[in-house]
Amino acid sequence: MATAITIPAEREHYLNKEHGISSWLLTTDHKRIALLYLLSITFFFFIGGFFALLIRLELLTPAGDLVQADTYNKLFSMHGQVMVFFFLIPSIPAVLGNFLVPLMIGAKDLAFPKINLLSWYLYVIAGIMMLHAMITGGVDTGWTFYTPLSTAFSNTHVIEAGLSIFVAGFSSIFTGLNFVVTIHRMRAPGMTWSRMPLFIWAHYATSIIQLLGTPVLAITLVLVVLERAFHLCIFDSTCGGDPLLFQHLFWFYSHPAVYIMILPSMGVVTEIITCFSRKRVFGYHFIALASISIAVFGFLVWAHHMFVAGMSVYAALAFSLLSYSVAVPSAIKVFNWTATMYKGSISYSTPMLYAFGFIGLFTMGGMTGLFLASLGIDVHVTDTYFVVAHFHYIMVGGAVMGYLGGMHFWWPKISGRMYPEGWGRLAALIVFIGFNLTFFPQFILGYLGMPRRYWQYPPEFQVLNVLSTAGSTILAVGYVLPMVYFLWSMRYGKIASDNPWGAAGLEWKTSSPPTTFNFDETPVVTWEAYNYDEIPTPEEVAVER
């Protein structure tokens, strides 16, 4: 391989162009901001993971012996808030999307580089507020801030946590706004809408949700804070307010927020599967429009979180039907991925293993979502571990698998180095096994009736809980491993060529790592996306040389 690389040791790229702290903290380069985000979300991922491990440790035994009930309430609340708002929502868009959206469409940067940096600073401010709230006593409302618990009864730091998520929301809005404008206005000549990588389509759909959903969460949290701090009467039922209104407003954002997490992951998986099947994607337009329709349908299903909250049964029927409809575009994607692999020449590289994991786990998460969308079953399993297992299959099995797959796939582009492939495959396997061992037993537990959010449980549930806790420790190993070998590879990894996977896409046509303005000359696109029949594999390139 070394002979194939003609990069001089001191070639200038975005990482070595400038040095020093201020060259990072004041950068407007989308690639550097992506790395700032990578560092910060990794930090919060491990904080949230730490809470998760404490939760699983408490649930190892039926008695509440490790922590007290109040502490347990805080643990799962802060696990949820950190993981949702400080890891999953920013994960793929703010790291991989930030890095790749301009590269993939042939732009020099995002449309508003300073707003991009501002979005990271808002994230940091929000993160500090959240950390402060956690250190000084935490929050115990669950990540959902349901009223009247959050406004009247909780004695914890609801106001600070709520404002922290308010600020984090603006960080998310600015990322989405930047992407939409960039995708509309900054595409290279010839990069038509139907030539864009599906990763871009997925991010476009995600950004629309971020733009239209997040402000509703913002005003909802403001109203909660006003009610708690100044005793306004908006959600308080003792003076005629309606707690259900809070739930409607909250889920109007927080259901689509699930699609903020999963759509970018679907975009990543599409890129990986076409590359490692060496085939054009099957049904390009259907996958692109499926992303958009998931974004649109996602706004029409929120009340399926409230079937037992006391709303009208006729509304519940309508929301149940609409919730089913999300399965159609999701299934279109799954079928198109499998059709893309059909008769492809598949290689089992690390990113592809994550993509396989994604398809399997997302399908299970999605199918159990249909259980929960049907009124009869939902009444039975509401607020049980069945729900917990379901959304972890989507958020962790889906979104995080896609994120890790994407990190491996684009790591050579980001760092200019290869990660160790053997370790990569091992970690992917460990994550898959650990994940299933953690969360599959929770489906059964929930179906048997174990409620969520309790720190103790009847002894007959112990075996499945022990399995789940054991799985979570395996999962933790699977998450620490990539962090270790990614760090290792930055110094000792094999130097990556510009296109180590033989992948289509403009990001592979520039150097690894790219220069500050991405392309020496603005590329002109004359080909369809995923023209793998026209691109030689890395092996073919090696033979030719």
Binding site: L177, P215, V216, I219, D242, F517, D520, T522
Partner: protein, 234 residues
């Protein structure tokens, strides 16, 4: 590298940022970005309008009585002030496009003057409502509403919902006005230095769009809060 002459089709404008191909692309991007931001603002206020709609249907009598306790003439005068400020900012954008620096500065100052007048009047109204014990959480008391509208069967608690929404909505609107005035202070300074002209007036245009949006929110808030069922009640 981006400054290489080959990529610069339209000459080198000092306002052109390195990652745009030309001034027009930059202007289009900024404009689309502002419109998208206003879309997020619509959703932000939309949450409160949604709450308003639901509670107004549920507690109509209390909303009507509460609405009539507000000072109609003061609110109407304030609406006129705000519409005037929209006019001056629109003229300001035109002045920037035509490169009339002094006129732009004057119009921006006028806009701020109107904006601050509105805020001052609003503060006066809030103070009066505080004195009437109509602020939820600060000794709220609906006694005078019940006395004034004996036939409506006013529930003092439900009246509190009206005033909660009133303060939340006008308060959020006022915060947006304050941000707008802050923007105009900066714009006036930049305009004074002659930064804007026919070549580059995007910040003026975008701040103007924002200001119009804030005005339009008030155009909805005024009838919804001040004009509920004014006539038939005695």
């Amino acid at each position: 590298m981006s400054d290489s002459p080959a990529t610069m089709e339209h000459g080198h404008s000092p306002a052109l940022r390195h990652h745009f191909a030309d001034v027009e692309q930059q202007r289009n991007a900024a404009s689309l970005g502002m419109w998208l931001f206003l879309a997020t603002e619509i959703m932000f206020f939309g949450g409160m309008f949604c709450a308003y709609l639901i509670y107004r249907i549920s507690y109509f009598n209390e909303f009507a009585a509460g609405s009539q306790s507000l000072q109609l003439k003061v609110g109407a005068a304030n609406t006129v002030v705000l519409i005037c400020s929209s006019l001056t900012v629109a003229l300001g954008v035109r002045a920037a496009q035509m490169g009339k620096r002094r006129l732009l500065v004057v119009l921006l100052l006028l806009t701020m003057l109107f904006g601050l007048t509105f805020l001052g009047v609003k503060a006066y109204e809030w103070h009066r409502e505080y004195e009437e014990h109509h602020v939820p959480g600060f000794g709220f008391d609906a006694k005078n509403l019940i006395e004034e509208h004996p036939k409506l069967g006013i529930d003092p608690q439900h009246a509190q919902v009206f005033y909660s929404l009133y303060f939340a909505m006008t308060g959020m609107h006022a915060i947006h006005m304050i941000i707008g005035v802050g923007l105009f202070i900066w714009l006036t300074f930049m305009a004074w230095r002659g930064e804007y002209g026919p070549e580059y007036y995007t910040p003026v245009e975008n701040a103007g769009l924002y200001w119009h949006f804030v005005d339009i929110v008030w155009i909805y808030l005024f009838p919804l809060l001040y004009l509920i069922d004014r006539k038939p009640l005695g």
